[in-house]
Structure formats: C-alpha cells, structure tokens
C-alpha cells in the first residue's frame, strides 16, 4: 500500500512538473506578448477612418463569435487528454471501446457551427455591400475626387477638380468623403491606407474605385500590398489629413506650383525607378488619367467600373 502510494505521488509530481513547465512557458509568452505590443500603434485596430472603424468593429465581433467555439474545444482537449490518459487510473474504469456514436451530441455540434456560420453569413452579406469599396460615402461635405495611377515604384495622385498632381503624398480634408479612381501603368499593385480602410488592386487598363473618409487630421501611411517588381517595398505614400481650411489653402497654393505635370512628365515618371520624395505639381492636363487609362485599355484591358464611373 505504502509503495503504490509513493508511486502515485511520483506520477502526480511528474505530471505536475510537466504541467508546471507548460504554465511557465505560457506565462512567459503572455507577458512577453503584452510587453511587445504595449506601446505599438495598430492602424487596423485603432483606425482613423470611417470605413476602417466599421472594419475594426467587425473584427472584434468575429473574434468574440469564434471564441464560442474555440474555448470549448481547447477546454475539452485539455480535459479529455488529462482524464482519459492511460496513465490516469480512472481511465480504465471509464473505458468504453465500442462507444462511437451519439446522435444528440452530433446534432449539437453540427447545430452550433451551423448557427454561428449562419450569423456570420448574414453579417458577410450585409458588410460586403455596406463596405463595398465602390460604394460612395454619404456626407453633407463635398466629395474630393482623386485619381490614382500606380507606377513602378511610386504613386501619382491627380486632383482633377483642383488642377493639382502630387507624387507619394495625398493631402485630404478631414471628415470629407474621398472618391478614388485607381489604375496603373505597372504590374499589378494594390492601394492601401490601413488607418482609413479597405485596399483595392491597381491594374493596367482597369479602373478600380475606392471610397474613404478620414475622421481627424493626421499623417497616415499608405502602401502597396501586391508585389510589382524590385522596388515594391519602397512604394509607399503618406496621407496628410488636415482641416477643411488648411486643405483649401493647400489646394490654392498647389494649383499655382511652378512645375507643371502633363503627359511628358508622366512618361518620365512611369519609367521604372525608385522615387522617395513627395512632390507637388500644377496639373497640366485635366484628362491625364482617362488618357492613360484609355491607352492601356486600348491595348485590351477591361472597364471595371461597371458603368458607375
């Protein structure tokens, strides 16, 4: 009796050591993770745009919904592994080698995922339409139209209503809807401002559209998410969101820029090469964007606007 008691204690201690090590590792990981993310700004989780706000809420909702399945799964995994391990003397008593079906249980765990995915499907349908990049944003403020041409390896922004062209910088007024038309003269890239919301592909001969709105002034990073050659990592731009008044004075000044941007400058800019600086031009040709688009389209591309241009 005495020695089997000792063996039992040894067994529990061995498992205890194993569990203990596991707990220590878990604590290190959790504390380490907290330290790592403590002072970091997550554009997607703390956004500054109306679209990105809704996307962040969607993220949290989905994570919480998923927890309804994940937590029971992990709990059962741990419990069953502990309880029914052959090293656990109780497992010999509970052993049912031929128990392999139970309709009620199955209905339960078909039913719960079906219900959850049902909810998620409704949310998917609803948000796919509400947050469709092509959907214009409702607002009492005037929409700012920006035409974007992705190049190797820089971003060209055209403000047709203001007669301005910029490279790698995107000044916008806060709280006003910004409507983007996006194309490329480069291998496929993508236009993304995580702090403000959705990304969309920029493709030769296609016209993609995006609608975003900044909630407050600030400088937000813009990126390309699709590799388009050697300079791809440098294909960044900055959004300068500013007050309505500041934006108005910027547009007045920029429209009188000494340098003019027309088709000739475009061809020079479109040549593959890195370009890190932010530049501002007076727009020499109001139809520059459609001309570039038509040239690429005429070479055989397709109109992605679905007639909603």
């Amino acid at each position: 009796m005495h020695s089997s008691h000792k063996r039992g204690i040894m067994r529990i201690m061995k498992r205890g050591v194993g569990v203990g090590i596991g707990v220590i590792i878990a604590v290190i990981l959790i504390v380490g993770s907290w330290l790592l993310v403590r002072n970091v700004h997550f554009d997607v989780l703390s956004p500054s745009g109306e679209i990105a706000d809704q996307q962040r809420n969607l993220l949290i909702f989905t994570l919480c919904l998923s927890a309804l399945v994940v937590i029971p799964v992990y709990t059962m995994l741990g419990m069953f592994a502990w309880r029914y391990s052959e090293k656990n003397p109780r497992s010999a008593k509970t052993y049912r080698p031929d128990w392999h079906k139970n309709t009620i249980l199955e209905i339960f765990w078909w039913g719960i995922p079906i219900a959850m995915i049902g909810i998620l499907s409704v949310v998917t349908w609803q948000t796919s339409h509400a947050l469709d990049p092509y959907k214009r944003l409702a607002s009492d403020q005037k929409t700012v139209n920006v035409q974007v041409i992705a190049l190797q390896w820089k971003w060209l922004f055209i403000y047709p209503d203001y007669g301005i062209a910029t490279v790698n910088q995107l000044p916008v007024p806060e709280k006003a809807p910004i409507h983007f038309n996006i194309t490329a003269d480069a291998p496929m890239s993508a236009f993304w401002i995580p702090a403000l919301g959705s990304q969309i592909y920029a493709m030769n001969g296609m016209d993609s559209q995006l609608n975003l709105k900044a909630n407050h002034p600030g400088n937000f990073g813009g990126y390309s998410t699709n590799i388009n050659g050697e300079g791809y990592a440098d294909m960044k731009f900055t959004v300068h969101a500013m007050t309505k008044e500041d934006f108005a004075s910027w547009t007045k000044k920029a429209a009188k820029s000494p340098k003019t941007f027309g088709m000739a400058e475009f061809h020079k800019l479109a040549k593959p090469g890195l370009e890190h600086s932010e530049q501002t031009y007076k727009l020499g040709d109001k139809k520059l964007y459609s001309e570039v688009l038509d040239t690429m389209m005429g070479m055989g591309g397709m109109d992605m606007s679905g007639g909603k241009m």
């Binding site: 399945v69 291998p187 590799i227």
Partner: protein, 653 residues
C-alpha cells in the same frame, strides 16, 4: 541565328550567380551531392541503390518521396531563415544581408518548395507507404505509373534547385501573377524555371491522383466495402478527386503563361488584349483545391492515429466521411476569396465569402469527432498523439483567422499583409505539417522495422509548437500594424522587435528539425531496443498492422478477407488468423523498371530546353519521351512470379 546560339540557346556565363548567398548555394549543393555519391561508392551500395530506385514497390517509392521532401524541408527552412535574418535588421537606412532581387527569389523559392516538394512529397510518400497496406492489397493500381510520378516530381525538384546555380529563380511569388511574370517585366529565365518545375511536378501529381483513386475504387481486399475502409483511405479518395479536377487547370494555366513567354502570345499580358485577371481566377481555381488536397490526408492520418492511440473506434465514422465529402465539394466554390480585393462587387464577394465560412462547419465537426474519440478512451500519448495535440491547438487558431478573412470587408484590411502570411502558415503548419509528422511517426515502424525514439519525437513536437508561436504570432500583429507581405526592408522601427521574435521562432523550428534528424540517427543506433518484433507496435486497428515489420515486398502472402471496419482490431478480438484467409498460392509482382527515371530525364531536358530556348533539345527530348512511353506501353513482359514455396518459406522465417 548563328551556330552557337542555335546550339546553346540563350545560355551564357552571365547567368552564373554573383552574390555571396547564391554563390554559396551554388557551390554547396553540388558539393553535398558529391559527398553523397562518394559515400555510396565507399560503402559499395550502387547495386542496392539502383535496385531501390528502379523498384515499382509503392513502399520504396514512398520512402523516396519522404527523403526528397525532408531534404527540401531543409532547403525551404534555410530560405525562411534568410527571410527572417533580413527583416530582423533591414529597418530604416539599413539594408539586410541580401539584395532585394535575392530576397524576392528566396521567398518565391520558399513558397514553391514548401508546397510542391515538401508538402506534396510528404503526402504522396505517406499515401504510398500506407494505403495499399491498409486496403489489404499488394500495391497501387498502376505501379509503373507510380514510379513515373515520383521521378517527374524529382525532376521538378532538381530543376527548381538547379536554378540557384544557373539563371536564378523567379521573383514573382509562389503563384507568379502576371503581368509581373510576363516578358515585359521579367524577360529572364527565372520565371521559366518556376513554370517548368511546377509543370513537370504537376503532371506527376496528376498521374498519382489517378493512380490512388483507381486503387481505392478498384483494388481493395475482398470484403472491404467503401464504408469499411479506414478514414485515411477516405481522405485519400476525396483528396485524389480534388487533385484530378484541379491539376489539369494548373497544367493549362502554366502552359498559357509559358506560351506568352516563349511564343509571344497574349493570354495574360498588359497589351494586345491580355487579361491578367483571367490568370488569377484560373490559378486560384487550382490553388484553393490544392490546399485542401494537402490538408485532407492530414485529417485522415489524425483519424487513424487518434482512434488507434485512444484504443477506441473513431467517433461518428459516417459523419467523418460526410464531412470530408462536404469539404471536397465546397473547396471548389471558394477560390475567389483569394482576391476579394480585385473589385468584383458586393454580391460576388459575399457569395464566395459565405461559401468559405461554410467549410468551417464540416471541419469543426471533425474536430469534435476527434475529441469524442478520445472521450472514454484509454489514450497512449506517444509522439504521434503529441503531434495531434499540437494540431488541434494550432489549427483551430488558424481556422479562426481564416473565418475572419472569409468576410470580404475584413479581408480588405488584411489581404496580402503579414496577417495573411501568419494565417496560411498557421493552417499549413498546424494542419498539414503536424499531420504528416504524426503519420511518419505512426507508420515508421511498419516500413523500417523499428520505432522512432519517443523522447526526441516529443521534444521536436514541443520545439515546433513553440517555434511556430514565436515565428507567426508576431506576424498577425505586424499585419494589423500595416506591414505588407514580401517586403525586404521597412522604415518603422516599432516593427523590428516583432521581426526579431519571429526570427527566434524560425530558429526554434530549425532546432525542431535538427532534433528530428538527431532522432533519426539515435533511433538507427538504438534500433535493437526499439525493434518492432510483432508488426503491431501500437496495438493497431487497421490491416497494415497485420503484416510483419518491415512489411514484405508483396505485403500479404494471401489477401485478407475483410469482415468489418478496423479489420485488424476485429481479428484480434475474434481470434481470426492469416491462415483463415486461404491457401498460399503463386503471386505476380512488377519487375523493376528504369523507364520512369529515363522519362523524367527527358522531361527535365525538355523543360531545360524551353527555359533556355535550346530548340533542338526540346525536339529531341520530346521524341525521346514518346519513344520511351511507347517502349513501356508495348512491353507485355513486366511482371515476375513469386512461387507459393518462396512465400511459405518467408512466412516461416
């Protein structure tokens, strides 16, 4: 065209590597090969090796697949180390140890190698090793085709690695989207190496799919109905169905890209009517089924492992079959979720998003069924079960982020960021890799006659699990911080700690692999203590455990008559012996054949010729391939007999 160029196409000395990393690889790889060849010569094993590689025995072919896959795992992991070494330091003005061009080739090679040569290799290896045995038959339906498949796979692998030495690899990512991979932006041979490695390996895979499918439908032991097969066999059935429907799409698409690049066509170019979006649709119509092709055999392995190690019938066998079938169907109608951001509109995006989320239902059901197989079992936590525990923990997490990304509006914020990279590594490592490691551990004794060292196996599982967490959890965070994928340098210093933690994680995974290699050597050295003397080391349930370990070339002297699911368990419970299956008679087995190797050589030369525009080589190797195939097809003398006496002698030994 002058004589020289007619002879050597566009080959030139300019295409030799000129960076330290690539020069190192270009010297190291042939050196490694020379060492191996030297060892074979020293130990006088050339005859043995030739008999092995020309064998049509599925078990030997399976071993070859697994060996190639493990070698490619080391190559793929070194690519991963290079990637993380770069990103750990390339912040602000600092450039990493590798040029941008090298970096882009490295991540392209990393993805290509891991999917096509490691994952597919392990998968085909394990199916070859286990499927005929568990179906109670001698071999697959078409053993010679099996050999051709393997050697085509090996030829693709060689071509892919050869690019390191001469010409460089593609820099367009593992799926090579045009127009970046078209001549306009990428005239060099790199993309062509990528196309043709995949093309050859893809043909091999397609033939394997047909082979295993016919094996399951037409070649099972007498009495084994479909609903009496082990779940692993069911998983192979649905996997091969997917394979047969998806891989022709890959063949067609790669061919069209090759035609664009080699014959000036305009399928996916930016001009003259080409449509890159068509490529993206086609490649993902293959690509999505591909990832289910990879993971479903892993699911099958876990069904057999959990059931065996819990000493219980699998919970809900018919449901498991239904779930596998449902996953198979749905994986065909979700491909668009890989490009929600291409602008298809709310209706299309929502449809594909919902279909994607729906796959989570049968997958979740399978997890519950595995858990309830453990319920009230008596679980032996061997290393194979440790991999299962790691799988449930890791794969569930990956499934959650998958469901997250299935919502188009959410995907808009994480597509092509490091969040996506973390997700797919999450499910591939957690599901595919852990599953195949579990399978290797489980079936190892059957193939080699001794078990793998348990302690080192468990240690490697722990290292992989920890390594995975450290390598990929930071990537989820980075994605949400705005870090996109495939960048070789960045400016925000707050990202660096995350990249460093990720590098440590990759280091841990490498330690895990090193532990596995150590486990191999230790197990070999200690094989007498780890010997499997009964052929049934795990108190197994299925027919592969009814043979000796290692199993004889012909698997069973007399094909067993099957009574029930988990037939071997049934036999042990009811005292049925092998002698009850009938009298030993003469059997025929395939003779060895070197034609598989030769066809792979001519296929490889064909591809090499296309890549380098050596047109005479293309013509000659095409003709040679046709001749070789005709030679085999018209040969009626391809089998040899093993007499009943020989079988009886072996049975008594």
């Amino acid at each position: 065209m002058d004589m020289l160029h007619a002879l050597i196409g566009r080959m030139s000395l300019d295409y030799l590597p000129h960076e330290p990393a690539t020069i190192g690889a270009a010297i190291g790889m042939p050196l490694g090969l020379l060492v191996v060849l030297g060892l074979v010569t020293y130990f006088k094993k050339w005859r043995y090796l030739w008999n092995f590689v020309t064998s049509l025995d599925a078990k030997k072919i399976g071993i070859m697949y697994i060996v190639v896959a493990i070698i490619m795992l080391v190559r793929g992991l070194s690519d991963a180390l290079m990637i993380r070494a770069q990103t750990a330091v390339s912040v602000g003005g600092h450039s990493g140890p590798f040029s941008t061009d090298t970096f882009q080739q490295v991540f392209t090679a990393h993805g290509t190698i891991m999917i096509f040569f490691v994952a597919m290799g392990l998968m085909f290896g394990l199916i070859n090793v286990a499927l005929p045995l568990m179906l109670g038959v001698r071999d697959v339906a078409f053993p010679w085709l099996n050999s051709v498949s393997f050697w085509l796979f090996a030829a693709g692998m060689i071509l892919c690695n050869f690019s390191l030495i001469f010409g460089g690899f593609s820099n367009g990512g593992w799926l090579g989207y045009p127009p970046l991979t078209e001549l306009q932006y990428n005239p060099g041979p790199g993309v062509d190496y990528w196309i043709w490695s995949l093309q050859i390996a893809g043909v091999g895979s397609l033939l394997s799919g047909i082979n295993f499918f016919v094996t399951i439908i037409k070649c099972r032991a007498p009495g084994m109905t479909l609903m009496k097969m082990p779940i692993f066999a069911w998983s192979v059935l649905v996997t091969t169905t997917l394979l047969m429907m998806a891989f022709p799409i890959l063949t067609a698409t790669l061919t069209m890209l090759a035609l664009d690049r080699t014959m000036g066509m305009h399928f996916f170019t930016s001009d003259l009517g080409g449509n890159p979006m068509m490529y993206i649709n086609l490649i993902w119509a293959w690509g999505h089924p591909e990832v289910y092709i990879l993971v479903m055999p892993a699911f099958g392995i876990f069904s057999d492992v959990v059931s065996t190690f819990s000493r219980k019938k699998i919970f809900g066998y018919p449901t498991m079959v239904a779930a596998l079938t449902a996953i198979m169907f749905f994986s065909f109608i979700v491909w668009q979720h890989h490009f929600f951001t291409m602008g298809a509109g709310g209706d299309v995006n929502a449809f594909f998003g919902i279909m994607t989320a729906v796959i989570a239902i049968p997958t979740g059901v399978k997890i519950f069924n595995w858990l309830f197989t453990m319920y009230r079992g008596r679980i032996h936590f061997g290393a194979a079960m440790w991999w299962f525990m790691a799988f449930v923990f890791t794969f569930t997490l990956g499934g959650v982020t998958g469901v997250l990304m299935s919502i188009p509006a959410l995907d808009f914020q994480v597509h092509n960021t490091l969040f996506l990279v973390a997700h797919f590594h999450n499910v591939i490592i957690g599901g595919v890799v852990f599953g195949f490691f579990s399978g290797v551990t489980y079936w190892w004794p059957k193939i080699f006659g001794f078990k793998l060292h348990e302690g080192l196996g468990k240690l490697s599982a722990v290292l992989w699990q920890l390594g995975f967490l450290l390598a990929f959890m930071p990537l989820y965070a980075l994605g949400l911080m705005g870090a996109v994928r495939r960048i070789d340098h960045y400016t925000d210093p707050s990202w660096t700690p995350f990249f460093i933690v990720s590098a440590v994680g990759v280091g841990l995974i490498c330690l895990g692999v090193a532990t596995m290699i150590l486990m191999l050597f230790v197990s070999l050295k200690k094989r007498n203590e780890l010997l499997d003397t009964t052929g049934d080391p795990w108190d197994g349930r299925t027919l592969e455990w009814a043979t000796t370990s290692p199993a004889p070339e012909y698997n069973f002297a007399v094909l067993p008559t099957v009574h029930d699911r988990d037939e071997w368990w049934y036999r042990k419970q009811h005292g049925i012996k092998a002698s009850d299956d009938g009298e030993i008679k003469d059997i025929t087995v395939p003779k060895n054949s070197a034609l598989g190797i030769y066809i792979a050589v001519t296929g490889g030369l064909f591809s090499f010729g296309v890549i380098w525009h050596i047109w005479w080589l293309v013509a000659v190797s095409f003709v040679a391939t046709v001749v070789l195939i005709i030679t085999r097809v018209m040969d009626d003398n391809t089998e040899r007999t093993i007499t009943a006496d020989e079988l009886r002698q072996e049975a008594n030994v």
